[in-house]
């Protein structure tokens, strides 16, 4: 039996997964909200341990990902691409691709049946098409983050806006509000522009079959619908899906790779002992 934890420190939230072999015992998410990140990590980790009924010293491996390389008590760190691929495979064993849309970055990856990343693409440093950008837009429009998806689905005449630059897109939105465009159509326009960027990444990695959306925006039904819509042209062999635990994919992946590393290192110790 291997007990592991995965900690995904994102720009907007900290996610923790506790696993016993490949069984998810607990998952926890806490938004950072301008607090000290390490404090949020400690709180989230303790909360997830309480949920799972485990103590820290019972864990065989604490794997981190994202900005988790700052966690001093980690056992090891894995790169975000590696952990999201593994987490996506865990949540959807048929998936061969994932697109992780977080607070600041979007990245698409293609992987094999073992979770090995074969190809990836990611956005540059511009925040356009990311969660933080969408949060800013929601604030301008006076809607909550949770409402964004359902409101966007109601849009029947979406407005076009910039898909290149978050600053330009925000200016576009201010103009739309002053022109009297209704909120659903603004949000759907935003989702469409984000989807254009995301599908560019997805097409570049040449994934077929099932692609799982991970990261915080995987739960945004409006964005998922916009991506599906955009992929209809020229991506007939691709199905996009989201999972209720999609936001935890990175943390789950870190915990699973941690278990793999624990076993690999233990095996090496045994070999040395036997030699």
């Amino acid at each position: 039996m291997t007990l592991t934890a995965g900690i995904d420190v994102g720009t907007g939230a900290v996610k923790v997964a506790i696993m016993q072999d490949d069984r998810l015992l607990a998952q926890y998410l806490e938004r950072i909200r301008r607090r000290d990140v390490m404090e949020v990590v400690e709180e989230s980790f303790d909360a997830s341990l309480r949920q799972s009924g485990l103590r820290r010293d019972q864990l065989d491996y604490i794997g981190t990902t994202g900005e988790g390389d700052q966690v001093p008590w980690r056992t090891g760190h894995f790169y975000g691409m590696t952990t999201h691929a593994r987490g996506a495979l865990y949540l959807e064993p048929e998936a061969r691709g994932a697109v992780d849309i977080g607070a600041l970055h979007t990245r698409a990856m293609r992987f094999d049946a073992n979770g090995r990343v074969l190809q990836y693409q990611m956005t540059s440093q511009c925040a356009s098409g990311s969660g933080q950008f969408l949060e800013n837009i929601a604030r301008y429009l006076g809607v909550s983050i949770e409402e964004i998806g359902s409101l966007s689905l109601k849009g029947d005449d979406p407005e076009k806006c910039s898909s290149i630059c978050a600053v330009l897109a925000e200016t576009d939105v201010i103009n739309m509000v002053s022109r009297g465009i209704n909120t659903p159509n603004i949000l759907r326009g935003i989702h469409n522009s984000m989807a254009l960027r995301v599908t560019g990444l997805i097409r570049a990695i040449k994934v077929e079959g099932l692609l799982l959306m991970t990261g915080g925006l995987a739960s945004d039904a409006g964005l998922v619908a916009a991506i599906e819509e955009k992929l209809k042209d020229g991506a007939a062999n691709l199905t996009v899906r989201s999972h209720e635990l999609s936001v935890h994919a990175g943390a789950i992946g870190a915990a699973l790779w941690g278990a793999y590393r624990h076993q690999k290192l233990a095996g090496r110790k045994e070999n040395h002992a036997g030699a």
Partner: protein
């Protein structure tokens, strides 16, 4: 002694080294010179300069490794084309801004054409100061390159001796060699500890300790490392599940500290490198019993390390690297060269081919001393570490 006490000792030693690293105006050298009359300081550029000779002449050898990411280049850029590396720009900036005024002379060891030209610029910029282009031999026969080098050593001894008023006698040179041998032993112990237990010696701390040796008098530097070596095993540091990497290419223009931190955070323990290479260019002790000039000549021609700026007569650089990877049990190699560094970049295909043939994973990237954005390198090092941990032999 408690773990916290030992950790605070380590912190204090590293802080001292960091303060020296940040001293791009060489205030520490100015203070050292102010402690006694007639003290002289001789600056030397990468990679290797015979510090024993400078020391025996009564001067302080001071390594000049550029301004790193702490110096804004205002005038330095106007001296070089855009396809020239960054180090000479910041060295010129230091010179024209008066930061090098405390130096009484300069040695420019042969590395590449850029450094050769820089020595010419210094002769014009700092007219009247002692500026010597140290033409290190590329022939390693004792009778040929060795004799040539012996002449160079004597020329330096005479010139620096004339500045200080101290003649370099065999006895003085013996004494200096003995002090630098103690320093070699301390650096060797530091390297060994890092190789065996890399979690005890983070790359940034190791780097700062080496850099301190380019400013401190040699005996003080040896003491600094020895104190660190005594304290750090008891500082309560624990291992992480990182891969072990060897770095090649950073022998001249130095990587910024934040880059080293980035590599470690990305999951790489650096177990061998060529940073601050002049401090261990001749790794083993020099002979302390025979003719001291011969000891220096033999040290350079027979026992100095293999690097890009040194002619490889036997064409074994690739094989040497593969052997070293195995000796230090590195899981992979980071070929990390400064942008536009001809010696490092021209060596890379040879090294890559040898690594490929031996099945040793490697990745390569470029930096400059003032690089401030590390996201791409972080991704590259992170995926490299993951690939080795999950799919490789580590």
């Amino acid at each position: 002694m408690t773990t916290a006490t030992e950790q605070s000792k380590v912190d204090a030693l590293v802080s001292r080294a960091q303060a020296l690293y940040e001293d791009v105006s060489f205030e520490s050298v100015r203070r050292w010179k102010g402690q006694a009359e007639c003290r002289k300081a001789i600056g030397f550029l990468p990679i290797y300069a015979p510090r024993e000779v400078i020391h025996a002449a009564g001067a302080l050898p001071v390594g000049i490794l550029g301004g790193g990411d702490q110096l804004e280049i205002v005038r330095g850029d106007s001296f070089f084309q855009s396809y020239i590396c960054h180090l000479p720009r910041s060295v010129v900036e230091m010179a024209v801004s008066g930061r090098l005024d405390t130096m009484d002379g300069f040695l420019f060891p042969s590395i590449c054409d850029v450094i050769r030209n820089l020595s010419g610029m210094f002769q014009m910029l700092l007219a009247g100061k002692y500026v010597h282009y140290l033409d290190l031999p590329q022939n390693f026969d004792s009778e040929l390159g060795g004799e040539f080098y012996r002449t160079e050593l004597h020329a330096i001894a005479d010139a620096v001796g004339a500045l200080t008023g101290t003649r370099v006698t065999d006895a003085r040179l013996h004494g200096s060699i003995a002090l630098y041998n103690q320093n070699r032993r301390a650096i060797h112990d530091l390297l060994q500890l890092r190789r065996e237990q890399p979690w005890l010696v983070p790359t940034t701390e190791y780097y700062l300790l080496l850099r301190a040796g380019y400013l401190l008098p040699v005996d003080q530097h040896t003491a600094l490392i020895d104190e660190y070596l005594q304290a750090v095993p008891h500082a309560g540091r624990r291992p992480l599940d990182n891969i072990r990497v060897l770095i090649r290419g950073a022998f001249c223009e130095q990587p910024p500290l934040a880059l080293l931190r980035t590599l470690e955070r990305a999951g790489c323990y650096v177990v061998d490198d060529d940073f601050v290479l002049g401090s261990r260019f001749i790794p083993g002790p020099l002979d302390e019993t025979g003719d001291p000039w011969t000891a220096l000549v033999e040290g350079f021609t027979r026992h100095s390390v293999s690097t890009a700026s040194k002619y490889d007569e036997a064409n074994t650089k690739g094989e040497d690297l593969v052997s070293l990877v195995r000796e230090v049990r590195a899981d992979g190699v980071l070929l990390m060269a400064p942008s536009f560094c001809d010696p490092a970049l021209l060596d890379q295909p040879m090294l890559q081919s040898a690594l490929d043939k031996a099945g040793i994973p490697f990745t390569s990237f470029k930096y400059s001393e003032d690089t401030g954005q590390f996201q791409v390198i972080r991704e590259q090092a992170g995926t490299f570490a993951d690939a080795i941990k999950l799919w490789g032999k580590a």
